[in-house]
Every structure is written in C-alpha cells, then in structure tokens.
C-alpha cells in the first residue's frame, strides 16, 4: 500500500507539474468563456441586424399589416410606378421591395403580389411577410363567414393537456426532458472525463515504455500496482483540473455577466446542449410565472442525493473500466500513432451512449432502448444517469433495473480490469512491432 501511495503521488505530481497541463488548466476556462461570450455576442449582432423593405401598395388591402419591428422596417412608397419603386429601392440599397398590385379581391391581390430582392431572401423574412398576408386573408374569409375578429381570437386559443401521475401528482410537459438534461450533464461530464484523462493514462504508459524505465519500476512493484497507481494519480490530477475549471469558469462567467451586460439567457443557447434541450429551455423561458414556479418545484424534487451518489458510483466504476482499457492500449503499443485502431472501439460505446441517451431517454426515459442502454455496462454510466433524475421506483427507474445495472457494471469492472492488467503486464515488456488483436488475445494466456 505504501508503494501504491508513492506511485499515486508521483503520477499526480508528474501530471500537475507538466507545463502543457498547467497551460490547459489556466487557458481552458478563458477559452470556453471567451467562446461563449463570442457566440453570445455574434448571436446578438445577428439578431439585431435590421432589414428595410420598401412597400409599394397600390391595393386597398393590407394597409396596416406592415408595422416595423426590430427585425424588419417597412418604408411605404406612394405614387410611384413599379419600375421607379424598384430603382429607388436599389438606389437606397434597401433589402427588398414588396409590390402589392391593384385589385378588386384580396385573394387576387395576394396572388399577384411580389417581393423583389437582389438575391433570394431567407425564409425568416418571407415567413414574416407571409404571416401578414395569411392573417389578412384569414380575416377576410372569416368576415365572409360572418365571424368577428374577437370570435376568431377566441377560437385560436391554444390548449395544453393536463398531466398527472396515477397518484394524482400533477406534472408538466417537458419535465422529463428537463430531468434528462440534468442527468445528461452528469453523463456528459463522465464521458469528457474518460476521454481526456483516459488518454492521459495511455500516454503516460507509452512514456514509460519509450523511456525504458518500465522494467526498473516493475522490478520493485507489481505491474498491477503501477497501473492502478497511474490511473488513480492521473484521475486525481484530472479532478483537480476539473474543479479549477468549474470554479474559474463560473467566476469568469459571473464577471462577464456583471461587466459586459450580456443577457445570461444567451449562454443557454451557446452551451453544449443538444437541439432537443434547447427547445425545452426556450419553452421554459417563455412559460408563464406559475409554470416557472412549477418547474422550479420539479427541479427541487429531483432526488439530488441519489443522483450524486449514483454519479459517484457510475463515475468511479465507468472511469476505471475505460481507463484500464486505455492503460492496456498504451502498454500494447510503442507510440501514440499506433493507438488509433484500438481507440476507436472504446470511444464508440461512449458516443453511442451520449447520442442514444439524448434521443431516446428524452422522448421516453423508460422505453426499451433507454432501459437496454442503461443496463449495458459500457453505456450505463451515462445513460442510467440520464434516467435517474426521475427517481427510483414509481414513475422513475424500477429498482431492479438500477441494481442490475450496478451489478453488471461491477462485474464488468472486475473482468475488464483483470483482462487489461494481463495485457498491460505482457505489453509493457514488448517492444517492436504493433500487435494485432489476435496477439493481444494470446497475451491473455501468458
């Protein structure tokens, strides 16, 4: 044990004293916050770009439809011919000219209206114009049917179905997705951690091989101790780095919000949430106050204790499984370029977990795919965490699934670490050619 502690200490210090590690620790939060600010800024610029459209309305319809917004400003032309209007629009370098010709009927006028522009205008512009036409056309048709504006507004009211569990607890649409986002953030964290620090473990093993110190070390300690010490030391360095990142990034973001006057809601869009999540967030920010309160209550109701404890379990086991595979790969090769063929198969289940998680857990947290992937040990650390904010038991993850997933993970952990340490033990003393999968399999029997 004393030797294991020595190894952990050395690996930790070697990592945190490494120049590029220090640079990354300091630079990453600055880069990430800088990116977010830049994206937020660009979004703002993009949104605030205002287009001017000239309107030559020769008809008696659509008179008050074109009121300027912050996106599009309208300039009304009067007593000009179409050609003159086109020329003026171009001369003034305005975005487009909307021509509404004379006519008896609104339908006929709408059909023969044209939008003249230099290029094909984008859909956000045309949709806005179309909405104006649609509204007027609809009103006209309604008037013919003898329905008033007020009556129409009344008819148009949207409807949301009420949701409740069998126990009578009320819930709200989108809360599952919101919960999955919270679980997904944990799962995503695990994946990033595995990919970054698993890679560090691998490079550290390769370094020991290429510097030829490995045999000196393993004449003093067991290869398994060295592998374990390396994995633990590297992950401690990783946790240190993660904590520094989180603290400094939140501090920087806080400063940015404070001093640069950027709407914090923009960060939501700039974050790494996938599309599904973004829509939910928008919905959230648009929801009336009572619903916000409801969401807040639901978030508080998420079993945080369970989530954090399971996060720790899944994180530790999942990370140990993957990093021991990384260590075995490092031992099997002589240099980093040879690792590609072996790395792809490990990244694959991780990516699969994230994407399957976001697509299937979002729509149906207890569906067969979500269940399958949350039991399969190579994906369960990520997918199960996405399901867990719903709690265990009624309405959430059935207890048996949770237990089976942990037992499978534990079993896989023992098996993989055993296999990896065998490959590691043989591989670290092998120099020369890059091994094939067949040879790796043979090493297991040495």
């Amino acid at each position: 044990m004393a030797k294991l502690r020595l190894i952990i200490r050395r690996e930790y210090l070697a990592k945190v004293r490494n120049k590029s590690f220090i640079v990354m620790t300091i630079l990453s939060p600055i880069l990430i916050v800088g990116m977010i600010v830049l994206i937020a800024y660009l979004t703002k610029v993009n949104e605030s770009e205002s287009r001017i459209i000239t309107v030559l309305n020769e008809s008696t319809f659509f008179g008050d439809g074109f009121t300027s917004t912050d996106k599009i400003s309208y300039v009304q032309f009067q007593n000009l011919s179409l050609e003159e209007a086109k020329d003026s629009t171009q001369a003034l370098e305005y975005f487009a000219l909307l021509h509404i010709p004379k006519g008896e009927h609104i339908e006929e006028v709408a059909r023969s209206s044209f939008l003249y522009a230099k290029d094909n205008p984008n859909t956000s512009v045309t949709e806005r114009l179309e909405r104006v036409f649609e509204k007027q056309l609809r009103l006209d048709r309604l008037a013919q049917l003898g329905v008033s504006d007020e009556q129409f507004e009344d008819v148009e009211k949207p409807y949301d179905i009420n949701l409740a569990t069998f126990e009578g607890e009320k819930s709200i649409k989108g809360i599952n997705e919101l919960k999955a986002i919270i679980g997904g953030a944990f799962g995503y964290g695990i994946m990033m951690f595995i990919i970054i620090y698993g890679g560090f473990v691998m490079r550290s093993v390769i370094e020991e091989k290429t510097s030829r110190i490995i045999e000196v070390i393993i004449s003093s300690v067991k290869p398994f101790q060295l592998m374990l010490g390396k994995i633990i030391g590297t992950s401690l360095a990783g946790i240190t780095q993660f904590i520094i990142w989180i603290i400094s990034a939140s501090f920087l973001l806080f400063l940015v919000v404070l001093f640069l006057d950027i709407d914090p809601s923009l960060f939501m869009n700039a974050g790494q949430l996938p599309n599904g999540g973004m829509a939910e967030m928008e919905q959230l920010s648009l929801a009336p106050d009572s619903e916000v309160l409801f969401y807040a209550q639901e978030i508080i109701k998420i079993p945080w204790g369970l989530l954090i404890i399971s996060f720790l379990i899944y994180f530790v086991l999942g990370y140990l499984i993957y990093s021991s595979i990384y260590a075995a790969i490092g031992a099997a090769v002589d240099n980093e370029t040879d690792t590609q063929q072996f790395i792809f198969p490990i990244i694959l289940p991780l990516m699969l977990a994230i994407y399957v998680g976001f697509f299937s857990v979002f729509s149906n947290p207890n569906g067969p795919i979500a269940v399958g992937f949350s039991l399969f040990p190579l994906t369960s650390p990520i997918v199960m965490l996405m399901r867990l904010p719903g709690g265990i038991g009624e309405g959430g993850v059935p207890l048996w699934q949770f237990l089976v997933s942990i037992i499978l993970l534990l079993g896989t952990f023992l098996a993989i670490v055993w296999l990896a340490s065998k490959i590691y033990r043989v591989g670290i003393l092998m120099y020369g050619k890059r091994p094939t999968y067949k040879e790796l399999f043979k090493w297991l029997r040495y």
Partner: protein
C-alpha cells in the same frame, strides 16, 4: 547456505514458444556469476523470473534457502537491459522515488544518495531534469539507484552496453567493491569477452537450455586441449623444425616471417607435459614465446554448442 540463489528445473513458455526449458542453476554467495548466451537464449526471461516480473510455469526458485517471495524484492537490485529514467523528472527526486519503491525510508534514501552523488562527483545534477543529462550521466544514476538499497543480490543485464570505456571502468570498480562487501552478483550478457575476466562462475544458456555451468577456472581446465602458441627466432631455415614437429605433434597453424626470421606456430601436444619438447626446441632456435592457449568462454560456448548439435 552457500548459495544465494538456486533454480530447480525452471521452465517458462510464451504460447507455443518455450523461453526456458528445465533450467537448474546454483548461484553461489559473494561471487560474480556470468549468465552467458546469445540474444534470445532465455537469459532475460530467467532474470525476470528472479525479479518476479514473470513467473515460471514449472520449477522452483530459492533465495538464500527460502522459496522466492515478494518479500525478497527489496533484497535484489536489478539493472535491466532496457533501462531508462523518466525524462521530465528531476534527477534527485527520481532517484529518491525509485529508492523508496525498493522499500528505503525517505531520509535514509536521501542520505545514501548524497553519499553516492558525492562519490561520483555529480552532486550538481540533483536538481537537473533527466533530459538535460547525457546518456552516460543517466547510466550512472541508474547504477546508483540499482545498488542504493544495498541488496544481497545484484543482477546486471548487459551491464556495459552503452557505457563509454571510462564509465564502464568506474562501474566495474564499483561492482568489485560491492562484491568485497559481500554482495552476490549476476552478469547476464551475450558479449562474453566483456565479463569473462570478472566472472568466477558461469552458466551457458543456448536455445532456452543450459548447456554448461560451473566454476570458470575448472571449465577452462576441462576445455584446454594442450594447444600451445610458440614463437621462435630462427637462425637457419624452418625445414628442420617443421620435420621435428611433424614427427612429434600436430601443427594447427604456422607462419614464417622472412624479414624478422620469426616463426609463429600453433601446435597441439599429445599431453600437457611440455618439459621434453621445450628443451628439444631450443636446439633449433631461440624460443621467445611458449604459451598454453586457454579457451575463451566464447570458444567454449561454440565448442559445446557444436558438440551438442552434432550429437543431436
């Protein structure tokens, strides 16, 4: 116990490849033991078994009379053939780390390291990174780290490969000093001439098997075959001498230098009794050299292997 290490019928296979076949050895205490054989013969596998890096499929190893166990690791010092140091780590810190892995306490390790660094006059390297050192410098550090915990048994795999002659001599002297203090030493090498003068006992390993072992002086005595090298300064021609030799003994090689009138011969005598022959020779000329040819370990190795393979 007079043996520091006894191997009893040790075998090791990697898949279908037999790396060691039934090797039995006795390595005496306080002696220098040469484990000799060409590359790939199985020497390193055997050494790794002693260091418990790998384990034998069959057979047993005894260290100082007891079955080899993890507790013996701190009693063994091993300088592997593939040796190196962490490049970005500082010399002192690294030496300290490796010493602690061998079970030394931190302050004791530090004290001993200072002594060794002073002795080699490399004190100023302590705070340097290994990548700033030359290869020879790094090897001195490796040597110090190997012997620092004062092991009972020291194992050097290809010890002098990569050392420049000056450093090789320094290391050689240090190894001899350690031997005087009572350490048992194993040299493993395929360059037999490099350790021959140091080894008191040897084992020859060939194709995973031991072909010969024992005390080097006795092996040499056994492998002597009454071959002598003779040099003479001739007053007359060489014909008479040749005739004499032809009758009495076998000429293996001969060369006559016309200018110096020196006649060099390699001859095989019927027995190792040289008395009569030497007196006889002086009648033909001035004998400047008369020396028995002692076979080198390399010669013995080649001869043994040839005999084995001839028989097999």
């Amino acid at each position: 116990m007079q043996n520091i290490l006894v191997a009893d019928a040790v075998s090791k296979s990697y898949g279908n490849y037999r790396a060691l076949g039934n090797i039995s050895l006795e390595i005496p205490k306080n002696r220098i033991y040469g484990l000799l054989g060409p590359n790939g013969a199985g020497k390193t596998t055997f050494i790794r078994i002693i260091n418990q890096i790998t384990y034998p499929d069959e057979g047993r190893i005894f260290f100082d009379g007891n079955p080899l166990s993890p507790g013996h690791i701190s009693l063994i010092g091993y300088l592997p053939e593939e040796r190196g140091l962490y490049k970005s780590m500082k010399v002192g810190e690294q030496a300290l780390y490796l010493a602690q892995l061998k079970g030394l306490g931190k302050s004791e390790a530090k004290k001993r390291l200072k002594e060794w660094f002073d002795r080699f006059e490399i004190g100023e390297w302590w705070g340097k990174k290994v990548q700033e050192l030359s290869k020879g410098m790094a090897q001195k550090i490796q040597f110090i780290v190997t012997v620092l915990h004062e092991p009972k048994l020291l194992i050097f795999d290809e010890p002098f490969s990569g050392f420049d002659p000056i450093n090789a001599n320094i290391i050689k002297d240090e190894i001899l000093k350690l031997k005087e203090k009572g350490t048992s030493i194993i040299f493993s090498t395929h360059r037999m001439e490099s350790v021959e003068e140091l080894c008191e006992y040897i084992a020859l390993i060939h194709k995973s098997e031991k072909v010969l072992d024992g005390k080097l002086s006795e092996i040499k005595k056994a492998y002597k075959n009454n071959v002598f090298e003779v040099s003479m300064e001739m007053e007359n021609g060489v014909q008479k001498v040749s005739d004499f030799f032809d009758k009495k003994l076998e000429i293996l090689a001969s060369n006559f230098d016309q200018v110096d009138r020196r006649y060099d011969l390699k001859v095989k005598l019927p027995s190792n009794d040289t008395r009569g022959i030497l007196t006889e020779l002086t009648k033909y000329g001035n004998v400047t050299r008369f020396e028995e040819v002692i076979p080198s370990a390399n010669d013995i190795f080649i001869q043994t292997v040839n005999e084995k393979e001839g028989n097999g």
